[in-house]
């Protein structure tokens, strides 16, 4: 049996969104030595992002995709990072993520989550997609779980939507982001066993 590091080293993961879910999930996948990460986001870092996203104060104003590429390279320079400054549409998803072994949905809005899941399930049905749903607020760690339906893996509490009273904050967002990374590893390593 191959060492798990050798397996991960030749894998490619697509991450759609570089916010709370995407930046933290990518950081974990870089630390375990995934060979290539393809990341995409159109947004710019603002101060309020720093309560949960894997960026630093001196990166405010930078593009999230490029700033995350810099941070991932500082964590693990062996990881190849392909960064796209783009607001993903269905055609972009099919194009940018076509060679990925697994796609991580790391968007903020439910509309965007639905768009990418529908696109992957209908046009790339053999490709696993891992999504984050329900991560607002604090506490209640035991409600966070993984649900699998075919090639779709949903991580989160599937319940708590963000609002002014229930903001997304580092502890719970990072649990879900790392749960997504953990499911990715499970998929990659199961396939090869």
């Amino acid at each position: 049996m191959k060492n798990f590091k050798e397996i991960l080293k030749v894998k490619c993961i697509g991450i759609a969104g570089c916010g709370g879910l995407g930046s933290n999930c990518a950081a974990s996948l870089a630390r375990v030595g995934i060979g290539k990460l393809i990341i995409a986001d159109f947004d710019v870092i603002v101060e309020s992002n720093l309560n949960r996203q894997y960026f630093f104060y001196d990166q405010i104003g930078q593009k999230k995709s490029y700033a995350l590429r810099d941070n991932l390279s500082r964590i693990n320079p062996a990881v190849v990072v392909e960064a796209h400054d783009i607001k993903l549409r269905p055609s972009d998803i099919l194009n940018i993520f076509k060679d990925c072994d697994v796609i991580v949905e790391a968007f903020d809005l439910a509309e965007m989550k639905q768009m990418i899941i529908e696109t992957v399930l209908s046009d790339m049905p053999e490709k696993p997609i891992v999504s984050g749903v329900g991560l607002a607020g604090w506490g209640d760690s035991n409600s966070i779980h993984v649900k699998q339906v075919g090639n779709l893996f949903i991580c989160g509490d599937a319940l708590k939507e963000v609002s002014d009273e229930m903001p997304p904050l580092a502890p719970r967002v990072c649990i879900v982001a790392n749960m997504e990374a953990n499911v990715v590893m499970e998929i990659l390593l199961d396939k090869n066993n």
Binding site: G17, S131, V133, K147, G150, I154
Partner: protein, 76 residues
């Protein structure tokens, strides 16, 4: 698209639980109404095949089908 609403019932598996409905078949949209699924953003699969959002009114659920309704909420 019409749906036959004759006498009888049908049994489906809804989100991994057996369920009995008082129709012989129904559209996805009818199921959402009957089951009072109120979340706006959903992923729906019939027998593991995706039903696109635009097809909720025309996709028909039959006796014995396995139906998954997954709701999506904002946050990331």
């Amino acid at each position: 698209m019409h749906s036959e609403r004759g006498e009888g019932t049908m049994k489906i598996i809804l989100n991994n639980n057996p369920d009995e409905l008082s129709f012989t078949e129904m559209t996805v949209q009818e199921l959402l109404t009957v089951k009072k699924f109120s979340f706006r953003m959903l992923i729906i699969k019939i027998n593991d095949k995706l039903v696109k959002r635009d097809d909720y009114d025309t996709s028909v659920i039959h006796d014995g089908d396995k139906v998954d309704v997954i709701h999506l909420i904002s946050g990331g």
